[in-house]
Amino acid sequence: MFKFVSMRLLQSIVVMLVVGLIAFGLFRFVGDPINNMVGQDTTLAEREALTESLGLNDPFLVQYGRFITKAVQGDFGMSYRLRQPVSGLIAERFPATLELSLISAFLALALGVPMGIYTALKPKSLFTRGFMTLSLMGVSLPTFLIGILLILFFGVTLRWLPTFGRGEVVDLGWWTTGFLTASGLKSLILPAITLAIFQMTLIVRLVRAEMLEVLRTDYIKFAHARGLSPRLINFSIALRNTLVPVITIIGLQVGSIIAFAIITESVFQWPGMGLLFIQAVSEVDIPVMAAYLLLIAFVFVVINLIVDILYFVVDPRLRVQS
């Protein structure tokens, strides 16, 4: 186990290095950062000087090398856009994103899994059909549309919930949390729902599809023959047998919410990493993008590591290898 995990963490370094390399290869396609960093009166010569001093004229491998050399010393540079150390910026944004992703993942799971089971058990019921249709509508409407509609209804018409931001946060020193204040919690609701809709639909459909197959297996039949309660059969035996693909998808989804909840975060002006990232992209904030992509690479390696470990926990048949 120890060996397995440490091997993975070792691999994660390689992953991060590759991500960095590709990142620097593509930054020049994102646009020109200089234009956003200077006013319109700045002369061409000054612009050129700035470009030169930022090293943007160097070949990307040189830029990459410079970045990595500094990064291993813990220095990720300064944001072009916000004139702040990137590491501090990311640390500042991370709690907001993590809280939002976890809540929405939780929502998606807490609703998605039972609904998946229900719709598999009662595939013909009216409720199932209605629910499946509705959830698909939730998927096919773009996130920004859903977000705006939610804002319009709950924020503007009913005025129950805030339309933007994270509300009051409590600073715990190393972490800022919105869980401890009423306004923080209220602010979480709409973005979390917006994010959760897609995840939930995916989970419902996945669980349902897998359940439909598992419910037809002999061991479920034998479990029925032993007179076990439906709760035990459906939730413990059958559900567990559907878990491997479900865990996989959940892992990927949680990862991508943490990484790229871009649209939701910008619709709700949620001060998270997704917002930071999209703004970095639109202003070509290279240091932020670079550090951010490395972080995300690490997040994904860790999440996928956890997922792979969960496979072993869930399915003993997989334990023989490794």
Partner: protein, 311 residues
């Protein structure tokens, strides 16, 4: 004693006799969904003939017709059934024309992602060990880049290689590749996870004992048994691909705004939600919902139909 004929029946008769067709005939839901999907595809493919206007031909679009409500509303104009958008394009015609891009990009990119992802997932899950590690770390790298950046990269490289003129024809491919690349990991990892479970089952061992090469075992034996989640993801990602296309087009790597796709139309319409011009976004949105619904129903049906036990 059985009806063995010497020739192999033609494809059509085989299809008509196949369980799939037989099953299809007995599922009204699937039939309706198939008809709707067909209508959408047909409408898109033959938009030139079906659509009352040609919204992509800007010489025929009149800015003064902009923002007309649907025909049945007070200020509506009978020649614009579903109203017009901010540029004076007929919404109905634009949906038809725009679906063309969206359908191509949607299906092609999801198809690309699925094929790539399934292949990687199968190999990775089956081979295990170093191969698995390498492929999955590549997947991790891929995951770290959102579609936006991939699109910018591909677009940039494509522009670098290709002459200026070809860029517009290229736009669709750039979109397909970019979206396909950013979606494949989902398939790869799910398929891999299922393959890891399946590969130890006896039917796989039986295939090995016959001496079948690995790829046949993978494609013919394991693949059908892991298709369930794949179909679910693919049908859902179709919607995502259409929307992603709109986002990428906004970033300037996709199709130009003068020939908007379904997704772009929804995105444009989004600007008019507050101002009361709901038809610009609602109708294309509804078209997308119908498409996604039908494809999902078809996907569900196919999944059940492919599983002999669920018939």
């Amino acid at each position: 004693m059985s009806d063995i004929s010497n020739e192999r029946p033609s494809f059509i008769t085989r299809f008509r006799e196949s369980d799939l067709w037989w099953n299809f005939k007995g599922s009204p839901g699937a039939i309706i969904a198939a008809i709707l999907t067909f209508l959408m595809i047909f409408g898109a493919a033959f938009a030139n003939f079906v659509a009352p206007h040609n919204p992509f031909d800007l010489a025929t679009v009149d800015l003064f017709d902009a923002l007309l409500p649907p025909a049945w509303e007070g200020e509506g104009n009978a020649s614009y059934l579903l109203g017009t958008d901010d540029q004076g394009r007929d919404v109905f015609s634009t949906i038809l024309y725009g679906s063309r891009i969206s359908l191509i990009v949607g299906f092609a990119s999801v198809g690309l992602a699925a094929i790539l992802g399934i292949a990687v997932g199968l190999i990775s899950g089956y081979a295990g060990g170093v191969v698995d590690s390498i492929l999955m770390r590549i997947a991790d790298v891929q995951l770290s880049f959102p579609a936006i950046l991939i699109a910018l990269l591909i677009d940039g490289v494509a522009r670098g290689i290709m002459p200026r003129e070809t860029h517009d024809e290229l736009a669709v491919y750039v979109l397909v590749v970019a979206i396909g690349l950013s979606f494949w990991v989902q398939y790869a990892r799910t398929v891999r996870s299922s393959v890891m479970v399946e590969r130890n089952k006896e039917y796989v061992q039986a295939g090995q004992v016959i001496g079948l090469p690995d790829w046949i075992i993978l494609v013919r034996h394991i693949l059908p048994n892991v298709m369930g989640p794949v179909l679910v993801i693919a049908t859902i990602q179709l919607a995502l691909a259409v929307i992603t296309e709109a986002t990428l087009s906004f970033l300037g790597v996709g199709v130009p705004p003068t020939s908007p796709s379904l997704g772009t139309l929804i995105r444009i319409g989004n600007d008019y939600l507050f101002s009361g011009e709901w038809w610009i976004t609602i109708f294309p949105g509804a078209a997308l919902v119908i498409l996604v619904l039908s494809v999902n129903i078809l996907g569900d049906w196919l999944r059940d139909a492919l599983n002999p036990k669920l018939r």
